[in-house]
Symmetry: D2
C-alpha cells in the first residue's frame, strides 16, 4: 500500500483527494495536515466522509510526512515550494496541485504569482503532470506540477492540431467557462450563492495566470510563436468546465481527417473521450469522474475549427489528475481508483 | 419629497432599499453611510443601480443624517440602538430593519442577541412594523422595529386563527424555508455557491432568534400560552421564503369558514393575497414584489389546518415592508412605490 | 455473475441503476428494454456511460428477459404487474421500483393509482424492500416492492420511536422536501428549469400516494391508529431529499435515551448514519451515495422530537436501495457495489 | 391609452409582455389570445399577475383584435405572417417577436425556418426593431420585426467597430451564452431542471438561425463581406445573456479611442450602458430590466478587441425591446414603462 499524506485538506481539491483516495485500493491515507483544524476529525468538516475516513487533521509540525511514500499539496501557492525540498530529500515523492512548479520560467512565476520562488533549483526537475502529453516523464518523476484546470482543457484541445501543424498557432482563442468550485473553498463575497447563482460573467479578461502556463506548454509543440487569447467565465454550477476553442486551419483538411487525428492522438488515453464529430459534450457527463470529453466542429465548413472540451474541474482538472499521476509514478494501472462513472442527472 | 437616509447600505436589505427608493415617487435619497466604503459610488458596488442612483457612500461621521426626514437602518443588530436616540431627538423618524427594537422584553433581547441594550427607554415606544396587524400604530410612530422575515410569514399565517380562537395555541409548528439571501451579504463559507447550491438542510433547530419574536407577537392575540416549534431551512435559491404552518383546530369549522376568515382579515391589506383554498403558492410568484401569498389546506378533512405562506424575504420580509411602513408614517398611499410585479420566470 | 435485466431504462431511476450496476463486481448487464428507443445504444442517450455500458436498448418483445437472474422494473406503475407473473414463473426474480406491489390493500392501490391490479395474487407474496426493517424477508424474496423515496425517509425516522412506544402515533407530521429528479425524466412544464429553479413550493398537500404506503408500513409497528400528515415540497436541486419529522413524546425520556435508541436500532445497518444529537444533516452529504443520514432534536427540551432525515432520492430512495435488495436476495454482502462516497461539493 | 392585444400569451415572452404592459402608464390591455386556454384567467396560469391583470385568455376567433391599436405576436414562427395582413389592413400596428419578418431574404427565411412565407409582400416593409440602430424607421413603422435575443447583443457589440471600419469583418467570433428561458415555455426533456441545472454545454454549433439574421444586419454597416462564427451555449440560469465577442483590429487605435467610439455611439440610447474599459458586466445587473450593458477589453494590448455584452434575454432581448419599439411607434418617451431597476441579488 502506498502511504499517502495530504497537506492542506480543507479545500475542495483536498476533500476531492480524500474522496478518491479513501476508495483507492492501493493507498493508505496516513496523514492530513491543517494549521487551523488540528485535531478535528476530517469527517466532522466533510460529513460525506463519515464512516469512510477516520483521520483527523493534524498540525503541520506534528505530522511526520517523511513516513509517507507520496505527499499531495492541496494548498495555496507557495506552500509546496517551502516543504518539497525536505520531503524529496527524505525520499518522499511530491505532487503539487498548486502552481509552484508549473512555470519553467521563474521570472514569469514571480511576476504572475507575486511571490519569490524559494526552491528554484527544483523547477527544472519538476514534471508537468498532464499524463496524456507527458506520460513517460511522469512515470519517472519525483516531483509533479499538477496542471491547472483551464490549462488541461486548452492543451488537450489544441495540442493535436498544433503538433500536426494544421492551425495558426498565433491566433488561438479559448473561451472557457468554469463552475464556481474552481474558486476554492474561501469565504469571499463574489462566490456567495446569492452573488454567483442565476448569474454569468467573464473575469480576468485582461490577464489570467493560466495564460502563461498554457502558452508555455503549447509552445513545446510548435515552432510558430503561440498567441493565445484566453477568456475565463464563471458558470452558476458547482463542478464542471467547458472550453470552447477556436483555431484557424492553415491546411486543407477534411472533417474526417480532423476526427481521425484526435482519435489517433488519444487512443491510448483512457480518460480522454473523443466524441463523434459535431457532438455537443455536456459538463455533467463528467461530473465526479476523471473523464475529459471533447468534440470537433467546423461551422459552415469553413477554415475555423471549434473544439468543445468538458471535464470536472475538481477531478480531471485537479485531484483526479493528481491521482492519475500517482498511479503512473508508482507503477499502478493508470485507471486505478479512478473508474467512477459520472453522476447524471 | 421625503428626505431619506440609509445607514449601512452595503448588504442585501440595503441594496433592496435602494432599488425600491430610487423608483419611489415621493422620496429623495439624501445620504447613505458605510464605514468601509466612504466615497465609493453606490453604483460601483451594485452595477444594477448605474444611471439610477448617483449617491456615493459616506462615512457615518460625514453624513449629516439629521437633515433627513427618515433614516433606515440596514445594519447588524446594535447599530440602530446607538444612533436612534439622537436622530429621534432631532425630529428624524427611524425605521430599524434589524432586531434592536423587536422584543419588548429587554432581557430576552439581551439573551438572544448577546449584546446589552443601550436604548432601553425607546423599546416601549417602538412600534412593531407589521402593517397588516399594526397599521394604525405605525401611522403615528416615530420609531419602527421592522419584523424579521420568518416572523412576518408566521404571524400573517397564524394570527387570523388565533384571534378567532379556532386553534390550539400551545402546539403550533412552523416549518419554514428561506432563500440564501436571508443570510446576508457576508463572506462566509456556509453560504458559498459551492456549499449552498444543490443542497438542502435545516439549521438552528435547537433555537432561533425569530422564535421569541414570533411567540411574543402571537401571544398578543390569544390568552392561551403560545407554544411554537419553529424549524428554519436553507433553500438553494436567492430570494423567497416559504412557511408551512401546522395548527390543530379546536372548533368545528368548515373549509369555507376558514377561507372566509382569512379573506375577511386581509380584505383591506393590499399586500396579502389569500389564494383559493387548496392552492400551492410558489415563492417565485412574489419574487421582487412586496406581495405575500397564502393558501389553506386541511389534509383528509381532519383537524389539522396547514397554511402555506410565501413572500420575497428581501421585500415583504425586509425592505419592502420597511417602505410600506414609511408610506404609512408619512401619510402616503400604502402601496406607493411598491407596485412592482413579481419577476416570473 | 448475476445476469441482470432492466425494463424501462430511459428514466432517472433507470440510468441510476445503470451507473450502479455497471460498476458492480457481481453483475452482468444482460438486457435493457425500451419500447421507444429500440436499437439506440444506451450511451448515446446518457453520455456519462460512454465506454462503460455497451448495451443498446431493445424492444420489449425482442429482449428475452427470462434468461436473466433478476429483472428490475424502472417503469411507470402498471408495467411490473403485467410482466412479473411470467418472469417469476420462469424462475426470474423481480424488483419493482414502481408502486405495483407496495400496498397490501388492493383497493387502496386501485384508488390511489387509478388502475386495476392485474396480478393481485402476487401482492401478498411481494416483500417490501426496505432492508433496515425487512432484511430477513428480503433475503428469501422472489418479488420485491421497492419503497418510494419519501416513505423510506419517513419510516426510518419514525419507526424506532413507534416500536419503542415513545410517541403519539396519531399525530405524526412529516414535512418533506425533494429534489426535482424525483419527478422523473418526463417532458412537463412544471419541472422545466425556468419553472422549478429559484423557486420553492409545496405540492399534493391534499393527498399524496406516499401517505397510504407510509401509514400502512408504520402501522405494522404500533397498535395505536397511525395518523400522518405528509407535506411534500419541491426543492430547486437535482438530487436529495430532506424530511423534517415531528412527533409528540408520550414518555419521559432523555436526549441520551433517544439517541441510544436510534444508534441501537441501526447498529447493523451499513447505510443508516445516526449523526450526533443536534446535528443538521445536509442532503449533499449523501449525493450519489446510498447513505441515509439522520439526526435528532428536541426544541427547548420540550415534548416534541424532531427527526431530520436526508438521502439521495435516486440512490437510497430508489435505485441504490433496489441494488441493496438484490445483494441480499443473492447472498452477496449488503454493501457490494454501493460504496460510492457522496460527491461533495 | 393605447389599446394592446397579445397573440399567444402563454409563453415566457408573453408573460413578460404582460408584466411590462400591466404597469405601463400609457397602455390598456385589451385582449390576449390562446387557442388552448380559452376562458382561463391569465392570473390563474401566472399567479405573479394576480390582482394586476384581470384579463382571461380568449380563443383567436373570439378576440376582435382589430379594435386594438397594436398587436404583439408572442408566438412561434409562422403565426404573425398569417394574421398580420388583415390587422395592418384594419389599421392595427403589428410587432412580431418571432422571426417571420426578420430576414429580408425570403429564401433564407424559408431555408432556416422550414416554412413557406405567406406574407412575402410585407417583408420589405417590416422594420427591424432594434431602436439603437433603427430608431427613426421604427417611429414610422406599421410592422416591426423584433430582433432575436442573440442578434441584439451581437449587433450592439460589433456595429460601432464595423461602422468605424476598425475591424476585420470577415473573422468575427461571437461566443454567446443564454439563460434557459431563451428556450421558451415548452415541455421538453432537454430543458428540464434535472437536465439543464448544474450543467453547461454548447448547442447548434453547426448552424443557428440567428447567424443569418445577424450577418445580414451587420452587413448593412460594412462593405467587406461579413464572416461570423456564432457559438451559442446554455447557462444554468433562468434569465440573462452574455456575449463574448472577438474581433481583429485593422487600425491603430488606442483603448481610449475605442471607449470613446462606443460612448459616442450610444450617448442617446437610454438602454445601452457603456461601462468603463476593462469592466466585467454581469448578467444579473440587467435581470428584469431593459438595460444592455457592455464593456471593452484588449488582452495584452494586442490587436484583438473583446467586447462583453449582457442583457436580460426576455426584456431587452425580447419583450422589453418590443415595448421600446411600441413607445417609439406611438410617440411616447422611449423609456416609458421600462424603468424597472434590475433585481440584484
Amino acid at each position: 500500500m502506498i502511504k499517502v499524506g495530504i497537506v492542506g485538506g480543507t479545500g475542495y481539491t483536498g476533500v476531492e483527494l480524500l474522496r478518491l483516495l479513501a476508495a483507492h485500493p492501493g493507498v493508505e491515507l496516513t496523514a492530513i495536515t491543517s494549521r487551523k483544524e488540528d485535531g478535528l476529525p476530517v469527517a466532522d468538516m466533510f460529513p460525506s466522509l463519515r464512516g469512510r475516513v477516520d483521520l483527523a487533521f493534524s498540525a503541520p509540525d506534528k505530522a511526520d510526512l517523511t513516513q509517507c511514500d507520496v505527499v499531495f499539496f492541496a494548498t495555496p501557492h507557495g506552500v509546496a515550494m517551502a516543504q518539497a525540498p525536505a520531503l524529496l530529500a527524505a525520499g518522499v515523492k511530491v505532487i503539487d496541485l498548486a502552481a509552484d512548479f508549473r512555470l519553467k520560467d521563474r521570472a514569469a512565476f514571480e511576476k504572475w504569482y507575486k511571490i519569490e520562488h524559494t526552491a528554484a533549483d527544483l523547477i527544472e526537475e519538476a514534471v508537468y503532470g498532464l499524463p496524456e502529453l507527458n506520460r513517460e516523464d511522469i512515470k519517472g518523476a519525483r516531483l509533479i506540477a499538477n496542471p491547472g484546470c483551464y490549462p488541461t482543457t486548452m492543451q488537450l484541445g489544441f495540442v493535436p492540431l498544433l503538433k500536426a501543424g494544421m492551425i495558426d498557432a498565433g491566433s488561438l482563442i479559448a473561451d472557457a467557462k468554469s463552475g464556481v468550485s474552481g474558486a476554492g473553498r474561501k469565504a469571499e463575497i463574489g462566490t456567495l450563492f446569492s452573488e454567483a447563482s442565476d448569474n454569468f460573467k467573464a473575469y480576468g479578461v485582461a490577464g489570467h495566470r493560466h495564460t502563461p502556463e498554457t502558452s508555455a506548454q503549447l509552445q513545446r509543440f510548435t515552432e510558430q510563436k503561440v498567441g493565445l487569447i484566453f477568456t475565463p467565465h464563471l458558470v452558476p454550477m458547482i463542478r464542471g468546465m467547458h472550453a470552447t476553442l477556436y483555431a484557424r486551419l492553415t491546411k486543407e483538411v477534411t472533417d474526417e481527417q480532423l476526427q481521425a487525428l484526435f482519435e489517433e492522438t488519444y487512443k491510448d488515453s483512457p480518460f480522454v473521450d473523443v466524441m463523434p464529430f459535431g457532438s455537443h459534450p455536456e459538463t455533467r457527463s463528467t461530473r465526479g469522474s476523471n473523464m475529459l470529453r471533447l468534440a470537433l466542429h467546423r461551422p459552415d465548413g469553413g477554415n475555423t475549427v471549434v473544439i468543445l472540451v468538458v471535464q470536472d474541474n475538481l477531478v480531471k482538472g485537479a485531484s483526479g489528475q493528481a491521482v492519475q499521476c500517482m498511479n503512473l509514478m508508482f507503477g499502478l494501472e493508470e485507471t486505478t481508483g479512478l473508474q467512477q462513472i459520472a453522476l447524471l442527472p
